[in-house]
Structure formats: C-alpha cells, structure tokens
Symmetry: C2
Subunit: 235 residues, 2 copies
C-alpha cells in the first residue's frame, strides 16, 4: 500500500540492502548476521532497514510481493471461456518464471532456506498466499459445482505441489536445464487430473461387475479414469 505501485523507479537503498544482506548471509550464514551488520555494510541507518523490509526474513524474498500481485492480476484478467485449471497452471507458471529470471540468486536463496528453519517457515507463508490466491479463483469459478470448494482447495494444493516439485528439482540441480519445461510437465500431470471434460460415463445395469465408458480418443487418460471412478462409486 505504501510503496509506489507500478512505478518502476526503485530506490537504490532497497537494492543495496539486499546486496549487503546476501553477501553477509552467504559468507557467515543467516543467523550469524545481525541487522546491524547489514546496515553498517550498506552504509545506512538501522531504522531504514525496517522501512523497506518489515522483518529480517523479508529481505530474503524481495520479489514475492510483486509476483503475487502479478498473479492476482493474471487471474483477474481471466475470461469465462478459459478452462479454470489451465488458467491456474498459467498462474503457477508466472512464479516459476520469476525464479528463472535470476537463476544464481534463486539457487543461493534455496541453499539458505534449506538450512535455516525460520526462512523455510517464512517461505511456507509465502507459498500459502499463492495457494490461497489460486484457491479463491477456482472457488469462484466452480461455485455452482458440486463440492466446488473442496475441489478448489484440493486442486490449488495439487498445482502448488506440482510447481514446487519442479522448482525444487531445478534448484537442486543448481539452475541447470529449462525450469519452464519442467514445470509445464509437472503441471500437465495435475491439470489432466483435475479438469476432466468430454467424458460420458454410463454404468451398466444387468451385470453389476461390468462398466461401459464412451469417450473420445483425444481425451487424456486421466480424465477417463477420474470419471469412471466417480460413476462407479468405488469400494
């Protein structure tokens, strides 16, 4: 609210604080670095640090706030004709793209978050906001659907999990390969599961152990499975 919304003029102080912080975090570790160390290296007053970052942890994730805003705008620009799951996967793709823009920075930060418990917890709160944004979107899109909110919550969690799977794999590799391709593959895995369409199921009546399913060849297999299961009413 306080920062200049879409204005791209970034104050140099913010960047110098980030640079100083990461330099110290990487050489002595996060917990061994105090805010006083950071501000003295950056040559600014201690009070200014907390003007730009609400907490010491925030300096580690300087770009997530912007990315979250981008995701919100992306979903708000959705048309009713869009497949909700496709749209949500596109939103998750935005996050991966942000990581991919600065591979070395992302990898360094990953090392930090793996070692420091407090940073991992903070990252969880960030991920939760992404998941909540996706879930809210799906909830409105599936408002009329049976079990719409349950479906929305589960699907949002699945999308986030698939994204994080691809992201962590890429980060562990040190930033090698194409993270966008990886995340697309992982997202397709869940998208096919949660946006079934074009399947008609007709349970048999005479024989109670036989089911007839009619579908198009072009339909991904997962949708068929999902629909058959739903119509069967499983064990």
């Amino acid at each position: 609210m306080g920062t200049a919304s879409t204005n791209s003029t970034k104050p140099p102080m913010r960047d110098s604080l980030i640079a100083a912080a990461f330099q110290l975090f990487l050489e002595r570790g996060y917990e061994q670095t105090t805010v006083d160390d950071i501000v003295s290296l950056a040559g600014v007053g201690r009070r200014s640090f907390f003007r730009y970052f609400p907490s010491k942890e925030d300096v580690v994730f300087p770009d997530h706030e912007q990315c979250l805003a981008d995701m919100t705008r992306f979903l708000a620009a959705s048309a009713d004709s869009d497949d909700p799951m496709v749209r949500v996967c596109g939103a998750a793709r935005l996050v991966m793209r942000m990581y991919a823009e600065n591979p070395t920075f992302s990898v360094q930060r990953y090392r930090l978050t793996r070692e420091v418990t407090g940073l991992r917890t903070y990252e969880l709160s960030v991920v939760w906001r992404y998941e909540k944004t996706l879930g809210d979107y799906l909830r409105t899109r599936w408002a009329d659907r049976k079990d719409g909110t349950l479906r929305a919550n589960v699907a949002a969690a699945a999308v986030v999990a698939a994204h994080n799977h691809a992201l962590r794999h890429w980060l562990r590799s040190g930033g090698e390969g194409d993270p966008l391709a990886e995340v697309d593959r992982a997202l397709e895995f869940v998208r096919a599961t949660w946006s079934p369409d074009a399947v008609v199921a007709a349970p048999a009546e005479e024989s109670e152990d036989v089911v007839v399913v009619i579908t198009k060849r072009s339909t991904p297999m997962w949708r068929v499975v999902r629909e058959v299961e739903a119509s069967l009413g499983d064990d």
Copy 2:
C-alpha cells in the same frame, strides 16, 4: 528425544502453563500477552516456560508433536499389501481425531490462528511437517513407479488439503457435527482420484473418435491404463 516417550505422566507445570496462556490469550489477545504475564499467572519462573515450549507460539499447539509421532508410527506399521493412499488417508484421519478430542480447545485455537499472523505461519510449518511425512511415505511406496516422487508430492498435498478443508469447515461451525465423517468424505474424494483401480479396456472400431471401455471393478488399474493408452496412442 528428551521427553519421556510413551510415559503418560505429564508434568503439571506444562499443563498449568498452557491453561494460563490460553486464559490470557482469550481475554487480551495473543500479542497483548507477554511470556512474563503467562509465567506470573502460572506462578512459575520465566525460564521454565522456555524449557517446556521452545517459543511462545509452541504453547498454542501443545499436542502436535505427539500427533506427528503417532502418524509416523502409524505409517511405519504399514504392510506392503496396504493401498498407500488408503494408508495415508488413515494417517490424516489421526490428525482430525486429535482435533476432535477437544472440540472447544480446537475452536478457541482456531479463532486465535485466524487473527494472529504469526500463529497462522506457525501452523503452516506444522502442517508442512505432516505433509512431508505423508510425502516421504508415498515416495518410498511409489519408488519404482513412473513419476513416483511427483505423484507422491501432489497426492500428499491433496490429502492435506482435503483434511484441512473438512477441519476448517468443522471449526468454523464451532465444533458441531461429526468431524470424522466430514474428513472421511473429503478424503474419499482425493483417494478415489489418486488410487483408482479396476478397469479393462476394449477400443471401438467403427467410430474413430469414440472408445468403449469394459472392465471389472476388481481389475488393477495401472495395467489397464497402459493398455488403453497403448491401443489409443495418447495425445
């Protein structure tokens, strides 16, 4: 590690600290209550608080550590013949049962976690440990499977999301109704998605875009999927 494993003799000091803490949290709020307030009401030394609870937030979730241990044991006691997803849903059920044991306490805590950001973040870290435990289990069970780790991560996230959906719904209602039944219903929703079984396929011939699948309920799914995909040639 340090606490008495299965020994049920709980020190009274721990309980009195929890009681004092919640009394103050509910009347003045979490952030308006200092640790000094808690210990002076409980009549113990300040240092003792941090002997029983690593942080001020931990006193709000006094039973999760035990529950996590229970879940780990439950999964370790799994047999190879168990359906992994069924087992994981049973593990999630344990958590719901813990909440259901103290409805009023759970509802009061829910009110707190909704208002206080720090507590919500802490809860996320707890949920993450549950999800990681479930994911680790599924990963080993699906080690030989194609995309086993991706599948495990996504399925674990889906199970946790379904559990939380039912849990939050029950908590918002003030603890009315049967939370176990609710969570079973939500879990069944994802279980059916991620451990389908019993289909046999036979491709049609006349219409080139329509496929008829006939199957027995008791047939393992995965062979069938491969057969159908092989006969169809997937997208």
